[in-house]
Amino acid sequence: MTATTASTGPAGVSTSGETWGRVAAAGLVIALVIAPFGVYPVFLMKLMCFALFAAAFNLLIGYVGLLSFGHAAFFGTGAYISAHAAKVWHLDPLLCVVLGGIGGGALGVLIGYLAIKRKGIYFSMITLALSQMVFFIALQSPFTGGEDGIQGVPRGTLFGLIDLNRPLAMYSFVLVIFLFGMFALWRIVNSPFGQILKAIREHEPRAISLGYDVQRYKLIAFVISAGLAGVAGGVKSLVFQLASLTDITWQMSGEVVLITLLGGIGTMLGPVIGALIVVTLENYLAALDFPVTVLIGGIFVACVLLFRRGVVGEVEHAMRKRG
């Protein structure tokens, strides 16, 4: 399109875009810091869990071009492991979350190894099918508590000092993990590694011929994404004090796709905005006499047809057009 626009930085991000990104990120942090004084903290914590989950998912779809339709498997695994670690082993909450991330990542190695053998839509179907298998295993294994899930997960005391049953302490804990996760993703995307991911997405045989072992790159990205999804799941299980099958169903995988699509695939802020919209909607719709799935489905259709770039993507596009 614009063949010779000036002032593109090394990663192809225009400098003005970069500034805007900084402003938006700072705005987000400030908003999240003051929000719990006005908004129901549990709602905000849920929002952050889903935003982080979607952002992890977005690493794959947005930057490697792989649509995983089975990301709930990692989210759920993270949730179960963290919940188990907290409830049965009574570990430090932070350690629980870390273990959740490791669990998600480990599962990511297994599923990723199989799934990245195929591309595009096949990849999506394979992740979907494998995650369904994980679902069945979760349903049947005694460790997960089957239908009932792991209930009454204690939030615990961070470093043996901070009691996370205090809402604000818990909120801060979640906020810090969330920001850490988002920063990690941002760093990865804008790193030399991220650049190679983009190249692979664009033309895989060419990347091979340049000497890149593309399977390895994809697997690394997959595992990072799965690990962060596990972290999100782990946090969620502490926030709600519950890890359940919901976290691991394919509908959850669909939901994270929706969040990302709605917010804007391949944008840093998209998953956050998407999560905000979806979580809010779900909260309010549950009280209405209107089938939730119809509305969610309708939003899906509308997104795909009308604004594929998502909210953030559209805004960015509009700004780029103007300036």
Binding site: Y40, E147, Q151, F240, Q241, L242, A286, A287
Partner: protein
């Protein structure tokens, strides 16, 4: 806060949407109207939400209701996993919940808590009704089709225990995956076992599909009896008598039991075009009982209301000889029914033949037996 707020939390769009669903909301509304619409001079408000059978959505809604909306009591709570989650939450929030639609006896067993109640039925009662009474009536060899998850195992275990207690035999069981669609393979195995009774230790669509396919494969025609361990009028209605006739099941309520049940059910029918099952009627009873307890306690204070709930007898269109045990279990009579043949059905919704009545104190665990730590 002003007003007494009651929340109905259940599945309104999923597999159990007919089983309780918005009909339960209607039943609760009837209870409030019957009570007069207000208590302690405060208006009674009703809220409802769809938990989509997901414990996290359920507990999230409940959390908000308790934290933000000042809801005083949550009821219905179809689906055991959600019920358990909300039960746990109610304990920490010190709020009252009355579970109607969930089956697991753990609610008043190891998961019991001072503010939690369990109203219409539980796995124990179903097992006693179907397993015990049916075995006594001659169905003394069993084969189970069990949904392969905790709830299925619990139903199977509870029932087999009673079957054995009554001198019956369990010839075998086959575990099928949850949300299975085709049961023919399992039904062939059930057929081959030559058990007199094939027990369906599953729920929702799994149950209806197995009933339908059992008819197709001529299970009942071959002389075997089919026992639905968790079925209600709503599922029978959905299946039609052609597929479900001969099926044996236990419910805590039937619209055509007596004048009180008919009177209530007729009013319910006028509003909803369907007859209530035990979940819906149970929700009516739960709400009514709660309001009575609030009135008797002259306060919304959960400790006082809980004490009153355990003190007052339950006697309404749903509850016969009902009383609440120390562990929160409401006990009342249960009934073993057989589904009529199409030609025996005289009028719409005329589906059940009463086989026997199981008195409340036989149907349920006593507080001591229940395994509730507080009442051991």
């Amino acid at each position: 806060a002003d007003g007494v707020k009651i929340g109905i939390l259940n599945d309104q769009s999923g597999v159990y949407a007919d089983y309780g669903g918005k009909w339960s909301v209607e039943a609760a509304r009837m209870a409030i109207e019957d009570f007069g619409g207000s208590v302690l001079g405060q208006k009674v408000e009703l809220m409802s939400a769809d938990h989509q059978n997901k414990p996290d959505i359920g507990s999230n809604i409940a959390r908000q209701w308790y934290d933000v909306d000042n809801v005083d009591m949550i009821t219905e709570l179809t689906t055991s996993s959600v019920a358990l989650a909300v039960h746990e939450l109610s304990k920490t929030k010190k709020k009252i919940d009355i579970v109607v639609g969930a089956a697991t006896s753990r609610l008043t067993g190891d998961a019991c808590q001072p503010y939690g109640f369990h109203w219409a039925f539980d796995t124990r009662a179903l097992a006693v009704g179907t397993g015990g009474a049916l075995t006594r009536a001659g169905g003394d060899s069993w084969f189970f089709l069990t949904a392969d998850y905790a709830f299925g195992y619990q139903l199977e275990d509870d029932t087999s225990k009673l079957v054995k207690q009554e001198g019956g035999k369990v010839l075998g069981a086959v575990k099928h995956p949850l949300n299975n669609t085709d049961f023919s393979s399992f039904l062939l195995q059930a057929q081959a076992s030559q058990a007199k009774v094939v027990g369906l230790a599953n729920a929702g669509l799994d149950t209806t599909n197995s009933v339908k396919q059992a008819a197709e494969f001529g299970l009942m025609a071959g002389g075997q009896k089919l026992a639905g361990l968790l079925m209600t009028l709503a599922e029978v209605h959905g299946l039609g008598l052609k597929s479900s006739s001969g099926l044996v099941l236990t419910e805590g309520f039937y619209w055509d039991l007596d004048d009180r049940s008919r009177e209530f059910s007729d009013r319910f029918f006028k509003r909803t075009q369907r007859m209530p099952n035990m979940i819906q009627a149970g929700t009516y009873s739960a709400v009514l009982s709660y309001l009575k307890a609030v009135k008797a306690a002259d306060s919304k204070d959960p400790d006082k209301v809980a004490a009153k709930l355990k003190e007052l007898p339950v006697d309404d269109a749903f509850g016969r000889n009902g009383k609440v045990l120390a562990n929160g279990r409401m006990i009342h009579d249960m009934y073993l029914f057989e589904v009529k043949k199409p030609e025996e059905s005289k009028k719409p919704w005329d589906y059940y033949k009463l086989l026997s009545t199981i008195p409340g104190d036989k149907a349920f665990f006593t507080a001591a037996e229940s395994g509730c730590p507080a009442t051991k």
